[in-house]
Amino acid sequence: MSRIGVFVCHCGTNIASVVDPDRLTPAAREMPGVVYAADYRYMCSEPGQQMIKDSISEHGIDRIVIASCSPRMHETTFRKMLKGTSINPYMLEIANIREQCSWVHADKGRATEKAIGLVRMAVSKVSKNEPLYAQSIPITKRALVIGGGIAGIQAALDIADAGHEVVLLEREPSIGGKMAMLDKTFPTLDCSACISTPKMVDVGAHPNIRLMTYCEVESVSGYIGSFEVAIRQKARYVNHDICTGCGLCETKCPVKVDSEFNLGLSKRPAIYKLFPQAVPSKPVIDSESCRMLKDGKCGICAKLCPLGCIDYKDEARTVTESFGAIIMATGYQLVDWAAMYGEYGGGRYRDIISGLQFERTVNAAGPTEGHILRPSDGREPETVVIVKCVGSRDPKKGKSYCSRACCMYAAKHAHQILEKLPGSRVFIFYIDVRTPGKGYEEFYDQTRMDGAVYVRGRISKIYEEDGGLVCQGEDSLLGSQVRVRADMVILETAMEPSQGIEGLTSMLGAARDANNWIQEAHPKLRPVETQVGGVFLAGTCQGPKDIPDTVSQASAAAAKVIGLLNKSEMETSPMISAVERDKCSGCGACVGICPYKAITLQEIDDRLGAKRIKREVASVNSGLCQGCGACTAACRTGALDLLGFRNGQILEEVDALCL
């Protein structure tokens, strides 16, 4: 028989003014298994806790009920208190007689009756409690950062600087991401390459960082502290171990295809570096366009290469690596506006370009060497229309959310045009102008001073007429239709999650929100974590962001990872599911229900009479299980049960209430 102690808290007058301790405490004393009951003004106070501890040893108490405020308030406090006593911290139940009794009921008699009921439920439940012990799981002191954009770069550098090993994985041939494509960054207008390239170089040179470019994640298993990640190294056809990146091969390649980096505004060869400052600064061969790989005819690059780095027989390889933590920094891509906006010509007009294409255009290293020229005829535009929120804030055709960075880079684009093309005119069509950042509003103001004309309204149609682009829309401040004849139109298009995010998140078991961004564990309090332990978020894979926010989040995620990796092992909550193998028939009903993929069927050796057999039973991975208990309700036989909330404990509560 258990020896239960019940401790009733007055919480000053918070409880005692409604629930009568003089009735409740004696009533508790009469409950089965209760050997001691007492009340006190503040149980959570030092003297209160001391009183409980003293009573435990004095009365040989082996489990306790505390009738007080919500367990969400002080359960942890009292568990900590029990650590110094003879009883296990989980031999505790809390009867919530404040938030769910004294504060919500006025009738003292009935409230006291209810409190007695609540204490009885807790007493009954605690009689079935069992000691639970937190498990320690070892931490592999190594982090994987997926995505080599500025978020991934920043996170990798921070973790590496703290002394932990990092693998930075990028699916393109070079790190750098979107930031490397930008010309200048708002609001300070410093050159994007000037501030990101040094970081890229740091990454390449950091002793704690292993760069894995042109790689993709193939599968992920394991859990916080010990993930096993299979990484596929795509075939490069260039031996990077000996290649010096001299660039000779690129010059003579006869193939010319659209450059990804310049977004189709220029051509690149089949053997190429993504861009001149690429890290690693070594080329790869694009197997889809290389003549040698396609038809077996050419081989010029191999002949040219002084070191014999070219290997047309190169194949993709998969390596499996262990990590203690993973940072997702997979970034964004721009929506395919041409497919969404037929009224803008659906991609038929060459002089309508995206903001990112404009970045390449205005960049000194870009296809026009920084001259702002129309793609169609290479003339300098006189009138430029900038359309904001293309695909953003447009639930009907595009995304319902705001892409956050466009207001500012639209202002930057206007500024750059007005600066580089004196006498030109810029019209910016907007829904709202959002400038909530340091120096942002000032920058926007300056742009207007520069001469950008802000027109509040959406562009409803763009058509080509007489060699120009007529932008037709509404000026909602004037309440009238306006038409602007432009030489070039820049669409500031919406961000959306990078292609491939679905596969990656489902491998990790991380959730995505309604717009496919990766879901943070809590929007306010755990913004850089996912609901999967050990998987963190940096940058735009979580939602649209500008560079300062991206970098901040990357450092925050890195801090979380450093905190985790600084420990050699980690305690997990012991209130998780447990399998009674004897009862388990291995039907697998629980496997599909677990949101964390924590349950697998495992083959065990068993005996059936004299016969040795192998049979499958459910097995809970204590690193992955978060203790939701959904599996237990699916287990018909009750082989799965949730420690701390066992079937038997909950049924005891039910029974006790019904007395």
Partner: protein
């Protein structure tokens, strides 16, 4: 009829003689000519005792659970109902297809009320088919009985089921005959958890009845073995059929055991599921 019986005997004999299977599960004679009993033939000579007539009523699939880890394949005569049971058992990870040799025997109709809902006389999965498939007879109205109960008032329904469970003797024949009841140990045999009182009372019997329906209802292949096995003749399929009727209404056409891959209703969810708990 006897021609088919002969084919079955020959098939079993050959399988046993060739060592293809360890034993064959079929039907054999009893003291009474209008009853058969499941038999387990483990020698070629024994095949001569196999029987096939309109009284070969019992579904044989459940016996596979008695020997989940056989050294050799088990030969099983499979009609539509046995094959649907096997599909479900495979999905529930209870048997392995490769440890079975399914001898397909299209059913020519049996003298049992359990067959009234039969919609598939022909085995859906088999290794060999001993004779041509049979035309399926039009089954009884699948949910007629359920609708009958639904038409009652709540109190009438309670009286109806109370009456049923007053007569239940808790022998668990329904459970033990059911091919999808596959727990190593049934929750009712674990009194200590507290889910199921052991008293033979209306209340405990009712709870057993509803729980049983909930445990098997979304996997029920509608073979009718539970009702056939019930020594008290209780209309307990009214519970499992209700589950199926509701599932059909909530998620569209739903039938179990037609293949070995489909998840059961309670084992998955749909973001667009009806929501009435707002």
């Amino acid at each position: 009829m006897s021609d088919r019986q002969e084919k079955m005997r020959q098939s079993a004999e050959k399988l046993l003689r060739d060592g293809e299977v360890g034993y064959v599960i079929g039907w054999g004679a009893t003291r009474f000519c209008d009853r058969t009993t499941p038999v387990f033939i483990d020698s070629p000579e024994g095949a001569a005792s196999l029987v096939w007539n309109e009284h070969a009523v019992n579904s044989l699939a459940k016996y596979l659970l008695d020997d989940k880890y056989p050294d050799k394949k088990i030969g099983l005569f499979a009609r539509g109902c046995e094959s649907r049971a096997v599909n479900r058992m495979i999905k529930d990870n209870q048997v392995k297809r490769e440890s079975l040799y399914l001898i397909g025997v299209p059913c020519d109709g049996k003298s049992s009320d359990r067959c009234r809902l039969c919609r598939e006389r022909n085995p859906l999965v088999y290794d060999v088919l001993l004779w041509e498939p049979e035309a399926n007879a039009a089954p009884a109205d699948r949910f007629e009985r359920v609708r009958g109960v639904e038409a009652m008032s709540p109190d009438e329904r309670y009286r109806y089921w109370g009456g049923v469970y007053d007569r239940c003797i808790r022998c668990y024949a329904c459970r033990n005959a059911c091919p999808v009841c596959s727990c190593r140990e049934c929750y009712v045999d674990m009194g200590r958890t507290g889910f199921q009182g052991k008293q033979h009372s209306r209340s405990d019997n009712q709870i057993f009845g509803v729980t049983r329906a909930f445990h098997v209802g979304d996997r029920c292949i509608e073979c009718g073995e539970c009702e056939r096995a019930c020594p008290m003749g209780l209309p307990i399929m009214g519970q499992t059929q209700k589950m199926l009727k509701e599932i059909n209404e909530l998620s569209g056409e739903y039938e179990c055991g037609l293949d070995a891959d489909s998840d059961s209703f309670l084992g998955r969810f749909d973001l667009d599921d009806k929501d009435e708990f707002m």
